[in-house]
């Protein structure tokens, strides 16, 4: 336990000093600042106003950029250390592979989750100071979703990192996964839907096993379920299952997915040559 916490602590310290972390924090903090400067909280579009609108815009941008940020910064965690022979030296000390791997996972999770969470906290605090009503239900839902989304992509990143030999290949794979989940699945499914080759229920199920899609639908699930605002998948889902159940699934599923990938990554890390 002591070793696990030590690895997590050292990884956290190392990450916080890294340039990517500064950029990462500035992007999410900057987004919130930009929304306030642009007067998003004062505008009203399609019934969303004040902090709700700001948080919704924040989460919609986060859906796109958070996964790729997590993937490219984390995917080199183990493969990069392997590449540069850091792993060879660090593992020459009596530390178990389990402690090393999971310590890295915990340290990296804190690093990627806290900036996106704090950006939201800053928005809420600043909004409250300006007298805006705080949409607590949205705040808690988005905290849960960000936590689950970070877990999912962190798990995937560690999984890739455990078996890829070079950082370049790891980065390439990350980009592919991101763009695949972001766009290709939707394009392929829309095409299948239009050709009516598969039932719409099956297509929507496939769409929903994509953590980015479930995140997107869950992020707007607290709002008025109008087809024009939400799109067909969200409309179908919220029409066929209760909002509470869906929110629980949308947090639980990515969380489990992340843990499953992280665990598979650990098994590979344990069974493969270390350097």
């Amino acid at each position: 336990m002591k070793n696990l916490l030590l690895i997590a602590y050292l990884d956290l310290k190392e990450s916080i000093r890294a340039k990517w972390f500064v950029v990462y924090s500035l992007v999410f903090g900057g987004l919130i600042a930009l929304f306030f400067i642009a007067g998003v909280t004062e505008s009203q579009v399609m019934g969303f106003s004040g902090l709700s609108r700001l948080l919704l815009m924040y989460i919609q941008i986060t859906i796109v950029i958070l996964p790729i940020f997590i993937l490219i910064t984390t995917v080199r965690s183990i493969s990069g250390d392997r590449d540069s022979h850091v792993l060879e030296y660090m593992l020459s000390f009596p530390i178990s592979l389990k402690q090393y791997y999971w310590g890295k996972v915990i340290g990296r999770f804190i690093t990627v989750f806290l900036p996106v969470f704090f950006a939201m906290v800053i928005a809420v605090v600043y909004g409250a100071l300006k007298g805006a009503a705080i949409p607590w239900s949205i705040f808690f839902l988005y905290t849960g979703l960000l936590f689950a989304m970070s877990s999912a992509f962190l798990g995937i990143a560690f999984f890739i990192s455990s078996f890829v030999k070079s950082s370049e290949v790891a980065l390439g794979l990350s980009f592919f996964i991101w763009i695949f989940l972001l766009a290709f699945i939707d394009i392929a499914l829309i095409s299948l839907m239009m050709q009516e080759r598969m039932s719409s229920g099956l297509i929507i199920f496939i769409s929903l096993i994509n953590p980015m899609e479930i995140f997107r639908v869950a992020a707007i699930s607290l709002f008025d379920p109008q087809l024009t605002v939400m799109g067909p998948v969200a409309f179908y889902i919220l029409d066929s299952m209760s909002q509470t159940v869906f929110v629980l699934v949308s947090i639980g599923y990515p969380l489990m997915l992340g843990l499953m990938f992280a665990f598979l990554g650990y098994k590979i890390f344990e069974k493969k040559d270390l350097v």
Binding site: R17, A18, S84
Partner: protein, 212 residues
């Protein structure tokens, strides 16, 4: 202390270690030599438990380095040929070593001092920002402070100036008792005074093994 039996390690179709058999006992100081690609590093990494062998086994004090990783690495100090670009500060690196291997930080500082490296003046610097010689001195100090029975050095003097080499040899002489010292080297003359056994490898096999 180290027993290697019928060890074979392949990478794809390339046989890096071909049915290696050897034993290293207490008070032996070995120069492991051979051309690039002879299998020296693969042998060292197999001893450290980094590689899963295709066949055969390695035992360190009777323990398998993969299955009993912690028991084995408790007894091994390792200094790589090129210091890795560790981004931790010296203070953090020493903390890692103190907690994981129960090495006294003051002892690391003592040996670093003997190697003419002032740790306190660089304590908050990132390890990778130190000069090549400073990094090597610190890794050597750590290896000695760990008080292991088995010390493995891969070209340990590559980054050291002549004065630092002398300090290194002097410290090794003071700490060699009851240990196995394994030097991976291309230049026998650099460790000739320290070793009492020379193993030459080629194409994954041990082609000569002399004691003197």
């Amino acid at each position: 202390m180290i027993k290697v039996t019928n060890l074979t390690k392949k990478f794809g179709s390339n046989v890096s270690l071909d049915n290696i058999n050897c034993e290293f006992k207490k008070n032996e100081s070995i120069a492991l030599m051979g051309a690039n690609g002879a299998g020296k590093t693969t042998l060292v990494r197999s001893i450290m438990g980094y590689y899963h062998p295709n066949s055969g086994e390695v035992l360190i004090n009777g323990f398998n380095p993969i299955k009993n990783r912690l028991d084995v690495l408790d007894h091994i100090s390792f200094v790589p040929q090129l210091p890795p670009p560790i981004k931790l500060s010296i203070h953090e690196l020493m903390e890692y070593i103190e907690v994981s291997a129960k090495v006294d930080k003051e002892l690391i500082k003592h040996y670093a001092n003997e190697m003419k490296l002032d740790i306190n003046a660089n304590i908050n610097k990132s390890f990778f920002k130190l000069s090549g010689g400073m990094k090597q001195k610190l890794l050597i100090a750590i290896s000695l402070a760990k008080k292991s029975n088995i010390i493995i050095y891969d070209e340990p003097t590559a980054n050291l100036d002549p004065k630092a080499r002398d300090d290194f040899y002097r410290l090794l002489k003071q700490n060699e008792e009851d240990k196995v010292l394994l030097f991976v080297t291309h230049r026998l003359e650099e460790v000739r005074d320290l070793v009492n056994r020379q193993i030459y490898m080629d194409l994954g096999k041990i082609v000569s093994d002399e004691r003197f």
